[in-house]
Amino acid sequence: MNNIDEKAKRYNGGWKLFLKEWVILILLLALVLVCSLFLERFRTTNNIMNILRQASFTAIIAMGEFFVILTGQMDMSISSTIGMISIFFAGFVVKMGLPIWLALFLVLIIAVIIGIINGVLVVYGKMPSFIATLVVMNVVRGINYLYSKGLPISGLPDGFNFLGSGYVGIVPFPVILMFIVATILYILTAHTSTGRSFFAVGGNMEASKLSGINVKYIGILAFVFCSVLTGIGALGLTAKTLAGNVTLGDELLFDVMTIVVLGGTSLTGGRGRVFGVVIGALFLQVIGNAMVLLGINTYWQWVVKGAILIVVVLIDSNTKRDIVKTKQKIQPIIMEEK
């Protein structure tokens, strides 16, 4: 009993808890299996690659939102951030004739600035993040329309297309990019102290502060991560059409929120996994794809996605106590008395 190996390796809750935490993976596998069995056009390599490609940029944006939700906040501004990155990037390249690398650098700075503004309003201004980022969303949208007068800016160089639709072998480049980003973020969350600080701040801000974590820095960093990753996603979406467009992200906010929650991230903060988000994105994309293949009116997707979000949030809000009970069964000696 007093052996470090035993106490360090024992996973509290066993395989049941493991299944509970990765239930979305099992659902995804089941969904893919069912679709492959009944839809002939689903199981083609082409279609599978298509699903992966379509999910990839949404997944990257969702991984950004993941960090904000992990710290117990919410970023509503991503939809117009996508628009801003898209239109300004196209503007810099097409209208001003800047080289691509310089334009990339400039939009990256724009993304960092939006993140810092969001973070400062929430962390230093102590505003509820929902309101602060909603305001930023509208201001940014206003600037987008003032700059572009609502018109798309087309004419990006063809080579830029590779980011959105290029292939490495049979694998689309965006998919590779998604896995690279996910892996880097996984290492960050699981193996660095900065990463663990996000969980600590989301779980209990006061206790984290008293344990010497720079909670203000972490709070702002989450928003910066969010808008930078949103920026990367926006560039990918822009590359697909080779045109900057202010309305590019208008319908994405809802999908991104659904994906983050589907991936097992707790809306109150402190709990979640990077690869859960990736799986959540794939899950949502498979459902959309299957509905298209079945010839269902695309507007039904909104209804179905809404229903999914409600079910997932309902489960999230009502099962926490259940997990605690399972744990108590396993270790009866240390039952708590209030």
Binding site: K7, A8, G203, N204, E336, E337
Partner: protein
């Protein structure tokens, strides 16, 4: 069924117990929380329910109010047998059983008056008759002989006043049985006396009171009878007058406690912490004290005396406007907890659950949270194995009762949780440890272990600042006690002057000569 009980009771004699539990067994999957426990509460009696954490006190009271359904056994309320399978909290409330917890079940933004009458409004032509309610409330306060401002939102009231409102609420609903669950654990001595007085009034009215508390002195001061539980078993019931404290402790922990406090360390080293003229608005002013290595210094004071703010100020989490802090003789600028931690200060805050621990984290991550920078591979990556090893070593040393390092801290007992908070700073090797009410809400056995730990820390040459509402603790553990009153240091006691009377007088702002 309920009306049947009420009709039946009138015919019975007065001596029937209000509540009688016969051979109660309560099993949760995999654990027997109560094993053949019997318990009876007479009208006009205050019955102390004592035992360590996890002994089954709360489980028993939950069986009585219907939150848990006992697996085996019988429950009688006023002589009438209750059908366990259909028993519920709603039914127990109708039978007149009320629980008052230490956590507030009050609406913070509503006034005391609204809180008392919530759900029991008197209406006049469809509108709430505030006048009548006000009159009723005044009668109620007169009956309890208390004076609480009922016209301000309760969030502006003191903790003790909120407790009185909770009691008033319970009295209003004409309850016959009142379960006070750890009611006094957040109260100061003066307010506890007031609670005793109210209990006396309620007893005269014929109510039965079940009193659950960790503070054994309280059992002797206000209870008529006692029931001791140990590991879910019924150890003994009897009258309080027949036993003494040592006997009671022996029953609770199942062994004899020879010495309540370990001997105080007398070997001091260099000056570790010196505070000069520290001032923070609305909290404390012109505070000066010093502590050497190997010393325990105590801070005593009533609620609102500024003790908690003072330790937070030293730790950089409460803003100061004047004064200086010297660490090992060097002037220190401490603006936030990060700087304090770098200077070797550690804080064990009073609120274990909200300030001390991250409830979603496991034992390992909680233990290593302040020391993450010490376990790095290639400067940026966390070395999980080294962290686990260090957390394991320190927790084994503290004799933590746990199952796995990856276990969530949420399900540990209060004493074990507190050990983890202390382990955090021992792992960091902090040299100045600030303890803010480290034994709040933990049982006798665990308290003693914390005392031993404090002693061990001083023997290692660390310096401890202890804040505690319990005078016994301060007298038993500290080399020197600073007594604060309304934000200023009133008195410093050490050596022979370290007695309860002197400290209490200073606490209340009465100087010795008066």
């Amino acid at each position: 069924m309920i009306s049947g009980i009420q009709a039946d009771e009138k015919g019975r004699n007065e001596k029937a117990p209000l509540i009688q539990v016969k051979n109660c067994t309560m099993e949760f999957p995999g654990v027997r929380a109560l094993d053949d426990v019997s318990f009876a509460l007479m009208p006009g009696e205050c019955h102390g329910l004592v035992g360590e954490n996890g002994a089954g006190k709360s489980t028993l009271s939950k069986c009585i109010i219907g939150e848990n359904h006992m697996t085996d056994g019988e429950l009688y309320v006023e002589g009438k047998k209750i059908r366990i399978s259909t028993y519920s909290i709603k039914e127990s409330q109708k039978l007149g059983i009320q629980v008052v917890h230490q956590e507030f079940q009050l609406m913070a933004d509503m006034t005391g008056l609204e809180n008392i009458f919530i759900g029991h409004y008197t209406t006049k032509s469809g509108l709430i008759d505030w006048k009548a309610l006000g009159k009723k409330a005044k009668e109620l306060m007169d009956f309890l002989q208390c004076d609480v401002n009922l016209n301000v939102p309760v969030k502006y009231l003191r903790t003790a006043e909120k407790q009185i409102i909770q009691l008033a609420k319970a009295v209003l609903s004409e309850s016959k049985v009142l379960i006070l669950d750890e009611l006094t654990s957040v109260l100061q001595e003066k307010d506890i006396l007031n609670i005793y007085r109210i209990i006396g009034i309620l007893k005269k009215r014929g109510m039965g009171i079940i009193y659950i508390s960790h503070r054994l002195n309280e059992i002797f001061e206000c209870c008529d009878s006692y029931t001791v539980l140990c590991d879910g078993r019924h150890v003994k019931s009897g009258n309080v007058v027949d036993i003494n404290k040592a006997q009671l402790i022996k029953m609770i922990i199942g062994r004899e406690m020879t010495q309540a406090f370990p001997p105080v360390n007398q070997r001091f080293g260099e000056m570790m912490l010196e505070v000069k003229g520290l001032t923070a608005p609305k909290a404390f002013r012109d505070i000066s004290f010093h502590a050497r290595a190997g010393e325990v210094i105590g801070l005593a004071g009533l609620l609102g005396a500024g003790k908690t703010e003072l330790v937070h100020a030293i730790f950089g989490s409460h803003k100061i406007i004047g004064g200086e802090i010297y660490i090992k003789g060097k002037k220190a600028e401490i603006k936030n907890p990060r700087q304090a931690i770098k200077l070797g200060i550690g804080l064990i805050p009073d609120e274990r659950r909200t300030l001390g621990l991250n409830m979603q984290f496991d034992i390992k991550d909680n233990t290593t949270l302040p020391s993450m920078d010490k376990f790095r591979k290639f400067k940026i990556f966390q070395d999980h194995n080294a962290e686990a090893k260090a957390a394991f070593d320190i927790n084994e040393k503290l004799e933590l009762n746990y199952y796995s390092l990856w276990q969530n801290v949420k399900n540990l007992s209060g004493g074990n949780q507190q050990k983890i908070v202390i382990a955090k700073w021992m792992l960091r090797n902090s040299e100045i440890i600030l303890l803010d009410e480290p034994t709040r809400g933990i049982d006798v056995g665990a308290k003693f272990e914390i005392y031993k730990l404090i002693n061990e820390l001083t023997r290692q040459g660390k310096c401890v600042v202890l804040v505690s509402p319990e005078l016994e603790e301060l007298i038993g553990l500290c080399n020197r006690v600073y007594i604060m009153f309304e934000g200023a240091i009133m008195d410093i006691v050490e050596g022979k002057r370290k007695t309860q009377e002197i400290i209490i007088n200073s606490l209340l702002g009465v100087s010795e000569n008066e």
